[in-house]
Amino acid sequence: MNTWLVSALVFLFTLVPCGIAVFRGTALERLVGLEMAGMVEVMLLILLAESFHRPSTYDLALAMALLTFGVGLVFARFLERWL
């Protein structure tokens, strides 16, 4: 197990507090938890790509970063007025 994999494991466990945040509080407090989880997942994918030597997984991290943007913006917009 190399340093990158250990670091990826730590990042994986940081998703637990994010999950707790998503299940507690008001709708917008939960949204912040979701945004944090998205950012952690992007970094987790980079760490996994580096630890397993799979350069194609970097594209997955980039796609995840862009999807996090879309998800957060859509939720924020709908929570602003309609939900």
Binding site: I20, L31, A61
Partner: protein
């Protein structure tokens, strides 16, 4: 042991510790505005540390360039999402985004009686 072999675990440790502290602090806060503060360290401290570690490991190549791209995307995403979430929270609380003339916003000068702000120019 080369400098790179020492620098990579240190940078990954900085990245991991920053993320753990931010995520735990996010759970401990009970207000949307307080929670949003802890999105920033992940983007501003943890991600550059990870980028530096990837750069040391891979050199200037495809992996580093993609990680730089991810870093800049996350930087933009964090700024825009924080603003959008704060705006949504304010609209849900007050029903509008624009400031109320009688609203006392900390750190900004308000005229006595809650009227217009004094002209500082």
């Amino acid at each position: 042991m080369s400098a790179g072999n020492i620098a990579i675990p240190v940078l990954l440790g900085i990245s991991a510790i920053t993320t753990v502290v931010s995520c735990v602090a996010l759970v401990l806060m009970h207000d949307v505005f307080n929670r949003m503060h802890f999105l920033a360290p992940v983007t501003v401290i943890a991600m550059p540390a990870l980028l530096a570690a990837v750069t040391i490991q891979e050199g200037w190549g495809q992996a580093t360039l993609k990680t730089i791209l991810v870093f800049f995307v996350l930087l933009a995403v964090n700024a825009v999402l924080t603003h959008a979430t704060a705006r949504a929270a304010r609209v849900r609380m007050l029903g509008q985004w624009q400031p109320n003339p009688k609203e006392d916003i900390p750190g900004t000068p308000v005229a006595a009686g809650g009227g217009k702000r004094p002209n500082t120019q």
